[in-house]
Symmetry: C2
């Protein structure tokens, strides 16, 4: 079968560099040791081919033979199943990792992402909705903080769920949202000190720098 | 193996009734025809046992033998794999449904949920962040609208991805956010006209009404 290919933008502005979601796929691929290639799609002019592969006009997507998958969570699940790594084989262990994979995205990123939209807008106005949104984020972070107490990783071993959760928390940390959550912060530090993350991060920076 | 059990709240206020996420599990279980029981956990006093099963203090969670899974996306994937229904067996078809399962949650609910937080707060102030958030929602809905053109369901057949996506869009529709998206609205109408949805919906209403 053909190599796995990640498609990401050819270029992005400086602000998202190091945070574009192709880093999740690069990281997982470095962890599992599968060969892969990285291809580019235009950032500034997103054409039909882009939307055929990623109907929301985002990146990344993964292709492998006749399979094309967008959504970083689906991509990581595919890579884990293809490699037999970062996801336990036994039904109970497998279900726990998949549960935390969804939780990183749907319980935590769902709170972090709107928070970052306001931060990137420079909007600090304390309207009632904004207070509710900030309360939503702090509640979610508080629950992750409690869960991480005494744990190195979300499940028994480092897994695809940790790639998602630590990357999501990393984005919160960028705006200093983890200052009251030491377990979350040390969890992120543990994750980003892995050689596979460091390589993925540098490769993403290099990829976008090439197009400057 | 023991029956599948869904745990949801014993009671909720009127506003979320018909929208509590146990409806996604009830709906899937009615579609696939697996036997199941529904148990309750206190809404007003969420204790240690609740957080052990659902570390964010939300509902539902699913138990089956020694397996306990929260996150509706993970629950639906488990139910599809357990029943062999609502998820194709071939690798390409399977990957497409899983991709759209994540997309409903992470590309669409991620935009709908913060929008509903502002709506439930009665907050209509047009701050820069709020405008960015509303733009995020309308972009995502616009992409779903384009994708649904000429399609009955997200993939070839009705799947777990449609349960998630239509339930997410249903919440947006509640605040009239679909008025400019006729494909989305007719997709929701098609989904909620299924007998399995109708039963799940009525069962949820009945469950909470019992505790009034």
């Amino acid at each position: 079968m053909a190599d796995i290919t990640i498609t990401t933008f050819d270029w992005v502005p400086n602000v998202p560099r190091g945070y574009v979601r192709d880093i999740r796929l690069r990281w997982a691929l470095e962890e599992v040791g599968l060969p892969y290639r990285v291809e580019s799609t235009p950032f500034k002019d997103r054409g039909d081919e882009h939307f055929e592969n990623q109907p929301f006009g985002q990146v990344p997507w993964l292709t492998h033979g006749d399979i094309s998958i967008f959504e970083s969570g689906a991509d990581l699940l595919y890579l884990a199943e293809t490699s037999g790594k970062l996801l336990p084989a036994d039904p109970k262990g497998r279900s726990e990792v998949i549960m935390w994979l969804f939780a990183g995205l749907n319980s935590v990123e769902m709170a972090v992402l709107p928070f970052t939209i306001f931060k990137f807008s420079g909007d600090e106005e304390e309207t009632p909705g904004r207070q509710a949104l900030d309360g939503f984020l702090s509640a979610r972070l508080g629950h992750v903080e409690a869960y991480l107490s005494g744990r190195n990783w979300l499940c028994d071993d480092f897994s695809i769920a940790d790639i998602i959760m630590s990357d999501v928390l990393r984005l919160a940390d960028r705006f200093d949202a983890l200052s009251n959550y030491p377990n979350c912060r040390s969890y992120v530090e543990r994750a980003v000190s892995r050689p596979a993350f460091k390589k993925a991060y540098q490769d993403q920076l290099d990829h976008f720098a090439k197009a400057d």
